[in-house]
């Protein structure tokens, strides 16, 4: 790696840590209902919201009611996004006259956004109307993120409260997340992005003249629109000419802001944040990349603050950093090493003052190697899934890093809220394993971890694992599944494994060569995203409810302290063994085989 690569990556991590603390403390205040300037200004809006929706904010919910509220709210979101796509042709703000989206693609996209996955089988600029993007996708970007954060806050209350049956009010937690955290940050981000050239307009696409017209071959069609074949049965082509270029527009900045901040990741345009109108400059790239981990990192410290022991939050944040930092550097160095096939072709892949060099296939010049690799690692560590370079074209090792980060179960930062409640589940498993070693009842944050909590925690870990592997197995053993593969050899298997990891872990990024817009992938992907989200949320809330009922046990001599370096190392060990080793055999068939056979 070049000196600038190292400096750039280190600077990203430094800025992240600097911003995590103030934001984390602020968020703790929001969820505990502490007074602030923002709360004074937006308080009337919050109260108006409750009045309009018939919500009694002081009413407390049991874990069952809380889970039901999450499910009902998400189901309403799925229906809304599905219907908006199916009827977009008759709705306003469709200047490109896009027709209704196909039923299977609408189903996939609706679940994708309501589960905070944001897997992208649609091409934004060629499929979706401005109204669908705004009222469907932008809305779910906000509320699915806020719902994840709400579930986390409910789990934290499980630790904090004792001898009670309730864990808070979902409507209040969700509303506060949108109103005081996500919306103000998104407004700030939107303007910064527009200042860099991200489009924000309701005009129809502009057409500009090309300096040099482009001629290309296109299949010749007969009067009925069918391709003409020659005597050998090959399609006949004819020359076509493009004298102009479309410049797509739309309310992009307002959506991209929340897409990055809420670990959503579904792009406004097909190429996501590789698109120069979605991410035009080094400054916009810095902002968008930082936004991926900003809230997930800060939430760790929110957690510490809310449970009344900040060291607990730092311990989890440090554990996440210790896994992510080396993998980020590994990805960058694999990409910086370049494509070995190019060496003999007279191509210069060496980094210098004049070029970043490295494997530039699928990457943008302004982002270079370090800017692309940091993004690739962060977007898969967090369950963001947006991309500023095409992961399918990464080197074998470089592409394995994002895949592995998803397979850790989206707990190394993970989605906003969902990543940290996943991490807390791993912390529970860790104290349990430690308890077995010394023969004591495990405790975490003053609560005894017993059979019920362990059953639920094991369920959370196993369900996602099983979904990925069963899904991949079905896809590679059916025609409908293998038909989508675009690259030959082990790389083709990687495309499928990556997709199912992304579905089940609600990440949303892709090895995009895989043609996922088929009835098979749209359907199975939608189902997996649904289970990957809610079959985790339900047991997490069950744990929250069970913990809230328990008495607080004061720490004694035999209590394992959970803020020490020893615990951090132990926690990482459990994550690596449970999360990653389970995938070793599958990784051996994909990226590892590819690396060894090139």
């Amino acid at each position: 790696m070049s000196g600038n690569d190292v400096l750039q990556i280190a600077a990203y991590f430094a800025v992240l840590v600097l911003l995590a603390k103030p934001l984390g403390m602020f968020m703790a205040g929001v969820y505990e209902g502490r007074p602030s300037i923002l709360a004074r200004a937006l308080g009337p809006v919050e109260r108006l919201f409750y009045r309009l929706c018939g919500i009694q904010p002081e009413e407390e919910m049991s874990s069952k009611q809380y889970a039901l509220a999450v499910l009902l709210f998400s189901a309403a979101g799925v229906f809304a996004v599905y219907l908006l796509q199916r009827f977009q042709g008759s709705l306003p703000l469709d200047p490109q006259k896009f027709p209704a989206v196909a039923p299977d693609l609408s189903f996939n996209t609706a679940i994708s956004f309501a589960t905070n996955t944001n897997w992208q089988n649609y091409g934004g600029e060629s499929t979706l109307s401005y109204f669908t993007q705004m009222a469907g996708l932008t809305v779910q970007n906000f509320v699915s993120a806020a719902a994840g954060m709400a579930v986390l806050v409910a789990l934290i209350r499980g630790f904090k409260r004792h001898s009670v049956n309730t864990i808070g009010n979902f409507w209040v937690d969700m509303t506060r997340g949108v109103l005081y955290i996500l919306l103000p940050l998104s407004v700030l981000y939107s303007f910064l992005l527009v200042s860099q050239g991200v489009v924000q307009s309701f005009d129809k696409y502009k057409t500009v003249a090309l300096t040099q017209a482009v001629t290309y071959e296109t299949p010749k069609l007969d009067a009925h629109g069918n391709p003409v074949m020659d005597s050998k049965g090959n399609p006949v082509t004819e020359e076509a000419r493009a004298g102009g270029q479309q410049i797509p527009l739309g309310p992009a900045a307002s959506q991209i802001a929340i897409k990055q901040l809420g670990t959503n990741g579904g792009g406004f345009f097909n190429a996501n944040s590789a698109h120069p109108l979605e991410n035009p400059t080094p400054f916009s790239n810095f902002l968008e990349c930082l936004a991926i981990l900003l809230i997930p990192a800060a939430l760790c410290l929110t957690f510490g603050e809310m449970v009344g022991d900040r060291r607990q939050g730092w311990a989890l944040l440090i554990a996440m950093m210790l896994v992510l930092a080396p993998l980020t550097f590994l990805c960058a160095s694999a990409e910086q090493a370049g494509n070995p096939h190019f060496a003999s072709m007279g191509i210069d892949q060496a980094a210098s003052a004049l070029q970043p060099g490295g494997n530039m296939e699928g990457k943008e010049v302004r982002n270079g190697i370090a800017g692309s690799a940091v993004w690739a690692a962060w977007t898969t560590a967090a369950s963001n899934g947006s991309v500023n370079s095409m992961h399918d074209s990464y080197t074998a090792l470089g592409g394995m890093v994002p895949m592995l980060l998803m397979q850790f179960g989206e707990v190394i930062f993970g989605g906003v809220g969902s990543g940290l409640y996943g991490m807390i589940i791993f912390a529970i498993i860790t104290v349990f394993v430690a308890g077995l070693m010394v023969g004591r009842t495990p405790e975490y944050l003053g609560k005894k971890i017993e059979i019920f909590e362990m059953k639920m925690a094991a369920f959370v870990v196993l369900i996602v694992n099983a979904l990925i592997k069963i899904g991949t197995a079905i896809a590679v053993s059916t025609k409908a599944g293998t038909a989508g593969i675009s690259n030959p050899g082990p790389h083709g298997f990687s495309e499928v494994l990556y997709a199912f990891s992304s579905f089940a872990d609600n990440n949303g990024s892709a090895f995009a060569g895989l043609n996922g817009n088929t009835v098979f992938y749209n359907t199975i992907g939608g189902i997996l995203m649904f289970f990957g989200r809610f079959w985790v949320i339900i047991p997490v809330l069950a744990i929250a409810g069970s913990l809230a009922k328990k008495k607080h046990v004061p720490a004694g001599l035999g209590t394992l302290p959970t803020h020490t370096p020893l615990f951090v190392v132990f926690l990482i060990g459990v994550i690596v063994i449970v999360g990653a080793l389970a995938f070793m055999p599958s990784l051996a068939l994909g990226p590892i085989a590819e690396m060894l056979t090139h």
């Binding site: 509220a69 270029q245 080094p282 004049l354 095409m390």
Partner: protein, 192 residues
């Protein structure tokens, strides 16, 4: 499942949709259009009253007299602004190596006698298929060819390259990059 909870769910979705799906994007658009009229509308470059491109979207260039940009994998023709896309070819894919080889041949045919190693960004496809930039190395590689084809002093071409190069953010983030469309438009201006 209580009816009240269903009503709460539907109503909160409706109210939040109005707030985050309509009021928020409309307000951002309204202010952006007033404060950043050019940038909010695609950074269109005007020449003699006509739009000739976007400063942020690349165009396809060929022939010895223009600087070439990245390869573009958009369908059905390169730099199709209506459908951004990368090649998604894996590093060992023979199709990738064929693409690269044919680009090398094209570059050498356009500028015979240039035996410097070719900067990698000049033979690979960008992620969006619309990358407006090349590296300074890729611009320098082509400078001699362009100067010869246009009968220009090479120093003048080099000066244009540096005038159209954007730097890193804070000297750390991102990479220096040369805007191909702006550079070529500036070359065409000089001819007059």
């Amino acid at each position: 499942m209580s009816i009240k909870m269903i009503k709460n769910a539907v109503m909160s979705l409706v109210v939040l949709s109005v707030l985050t799906g309509i009021i928020y994007p409309l307000a951002i658009t309204w202010i952006s259009q007033a404060v950043f009229p050019v940038r909010a509308n695609g950074s269109i470059i005007m020449k003699e009253g006509k739009p000739v491109g976007s400063a942020l979207v690349g165009q396809q260039f060929g022939g010895p007299g223009y600087f070439w940009g990245r390869l573009s994998a958009t369908a059905p023709y390169p730099y199709n602004g209506g459908l951004s896309s990368g090649s998604n070819l894996g590093p060992n894919n023979p199709a990738l190596l064929r693409e690269v080889r044919s680009r090398i041949d094209a570059l050498q045919a356009a500028g015979p006698g240039n035996h410097y190693p070719i900067p990698v960004d000049l033979v690979t496809s960008s992620g969006s298929g619309l990358d407006p930039y090349i590296t300074p190395a890729a611009a320098l590689y082509q400078a001699g060819r362009v100067a010869r084809a246009r009968g220009l002093d090479k120093a003048k071409v080099l000066a244009l390259i540096s005038a159209n190069t954007a730097g890193r953010f804070m000297g750390i983030f991102g990479e220096p990059a040369v805007n191909v469309l702006k550079l070529n438009l500036a070359l065409d201006e000089m001819k007059k």
